[in-house]
């Protein structure tokens, strides 16, 4: 290692390696706790967008009802303003008329943002696999983080999906 450092030809490369290693150490020493702190903040304050796309919104409503109460997990009741939201739960079928609007809503949200595909229709098209007006899943429109199956999913399944999302955010890069 040192030999390479004093060699004229390999010196620039070795410097790069050294800087990279130092950077790594720095990231580990400072970045990791910072990441952890930032992610910890994100985990417990997920703000979902109030965009009902189809009938799964019934069970999304039930999830924020007193019985299931997703606010225990820091997921606040669906919210009107897009500029303060970081979670979009796609509640069911995306029709051809709704898809551009869904993308428009997603584009307006600030980064970082997470997507939960709720229900069979949002995952693969579900019952409407041969309908003329329904997209076969939202993978082509949005990048999906968590898939919550069911038609509609039970609120428990949705909460489990939210817990998985929190696990995922924990392991993400902070900033």
């Amino acid at each position: 290692m040192l030999k390479e450092f004093f060699n004229q030809e390999t010196a620039p490369h070795a410097t790069n390696v050294l800087v990279g290693k130092l950077g790594d150490i720095l990231v580990r020493a400072v970045g990791k706790p910072l990441d952890y702190a930032i992610n910890w903040g994100r985990i417990w304050s997920l703000w979902p967008v109030h965009l009902e796309t189809a009938c799964c919104s019934v069970e999304f409503g039930a999830a924020s009802s007193p019985r299931y109460d997703v606010e225990r997990f820091g997921i606040i009741e669906a919210f009107g303003s897009l500029r303060q939201c970081d979670l979009i739960v796609v509640m069911g079928t995306i029709t051809r008329k709704m898809a551009p609007r869904l993308r428009m809503v997603y584009d307006q949200m600030p980064d970082p943002k997470y997507v939960i595909a709720m229900g069979a229709c949002a995952i693969t098209g579900g019952l409407y696999f041969d309908s003329y007006n329904v997209l076969p899943g939202i993978d082509g429109v949005l990048p999906v983080d968590i898939y919550v199956p069911g038609c509609p999913p039970r609120p428990e399944t949705l909460i489990q999906g939210c817990m998985l999302l929190q696990e995922k955010i924990k392991r993400m890069k902070g900033a």
């Binding site: 796309t53 409503g61 039930a62 041969d130």
Partner: protein, 377 residues
């Protein structure tokens, strides 16, 4: 220029004074639909509803599936009222195929339909509360709704999409001790329901926001062909359960709720009172139900309807719900048309919102008992 455009496309005139607002599909005061509203200051000049965000082509897809495979499909438009939307389908298919339904199954169907009506109305009430900014009124009905969801879950096995009613009866018998549990929860629910009065219906804030807004007179309600609670709030005593009783409703004891005012308050009060009647029906049906017996008539695999057509209707949570099925000697129906209450009440929206304050829009819009997914089908 405008004459040469094809129908469906038109140019819009721009006026300095009139502003166009898009309410929805992403808006806290609308569901999965858009209202194109023109406002002059605070007053709504015109309203053009733009549904179709959840149009999934159920009627077209029903033409490619046989009478049994259609069951999970046709309940999807209103998943929180799924027994009631399947009810007329089952009645229609039974008439087409000539099936007799066992007596016990008829009573179980009525119980399922009434429980589901309560679930629907409570969800609707919860959203009405949150539209008006009354979050207690979201929490209470959404919590009490779980009592009935538990009952239907014990009956059918799913929280909302029951797929419980089938042509020829119901999928499975009631679980053990169901009657007892049902009566206990209904009693508790009625006690809870009375508490809604003080917090919501007698609340001066609600009264000032809804009383006298969006008045639909009796003649207009008839002329516009409205249905369900919208019609009954305008003073027309029309309930299909009484006027054209299906299954065992003629044996059961209840009174349709009618109010004369026709404003948003009356439209929100009628469904509330209907829940008491539903509880009465459930109690009565449990008392009169045969304690044992078969619950399902066995169908032939791939049953065929004759060369015939049938129109059957029931009273759902949103009003009359009719199925028009044309069959042509094949296992699949030739044409299925669902005439839904929400779509019939859509016509009220431009009519009632004209001249209304913009702030009253959510109060009027959601009082019409409108569920966009059902209207779009």
């Amino acid at each position: 220029m405008t004459t040469q455009l094809p129908p469906g496309i038109q140019l819009e005139n721009i006026d300095d004074r009139i502003m166009t607002l898009n309410v929805g599909p992403q808006h806290p005061g609308s569901g999965h639909m858009r209202l194109i509203i023109k406002v002059d200051g605070d007053y709504i000049v015109s309203c053009d509803p733009d549904p179709g965000y959840v149009h999934r082509g159920e009627e077209k897809m029903a033409e490619y599936r046989n009478y049994i495979q259609n069951i999970p499909h046709l309940e999807r438009p209103v998943i929180h009222d799924s027994s009631n939307i399947l009810y007329p389908y089952c009645l229609a298919v039974e008439e087409l195929l000539g099936i007799e339904v066992p007596e016990r199954a008829k009573y179980i169907r009525v119980i399922a339909a009434e429980l589901n009506r309560c679930i629907y109305i409570l969800y609707w009430l919860a959203i009405y509360g949150i539209f008006l900014g009354h979050s207690t009124m979201f929490m209470w009905p959404a919590g009490d709704r779980e009592l009935f969801i538990d009952l239907l879950e014990a009956m059918s096995g799913a929280r909302v999409t029951h797929a419980y009613l089938v042509p020829g009866g119901v999928r499975n018998d009631l679980p053990a001790n169901f009657e007892e549990r049902c009566l206990r929860q209904v009693d508790y629910f009625e006690k809870r329901l009375k508490e809604y009065q003080a917090v919501f219906y007698k609340n001066p804030i609600l009264i000032s926001r809804t009383e006298g807004t969006g008045i639909l007179s009796r003649t207009d309600a008839i002329r516009l062909g409205t249905t369900g609670s919208v019609l009954r709030a305008s003073g027309v005593n029309f309930d299909i359960r009484k006027k054209e009783p299906y299954d065992v409703y003629e044996n059961l004891d209840f009174e349709p709720v009618v109010m004369k005012e026709g404003d948003s308050y009356a439209r929100s009060y009628v469904p509330y009172l209907e829940m008491f009647e539903s509880c009465r029906i459930i109690r009565d049906a449990i008392r009169k139900m045969p304690k044992s017996g078969s619950v399902r008539t066995k169908l032939k695999p791939n049953p065929k309807g004759g060369n015939d057509e049938v129109y059957k209707r029931v009273e759902s949570g949103r009003g009359a719900l009719g199925y028009y099925i044309v069959s042509n000697n094949r296992p699949e129906p030739y044409r299925v048309k669902i005439s839904v209450g929400s779509f019939r009440n859509l016509i009220c929206m431009p009519y009632l919102l004209k001249g209304e304050l913009l702030g009253n829009m959510p109060a009027v819009y959601w009082s019409l008992n409108y569920w966009p997914v059902e209207a779009d089908r």
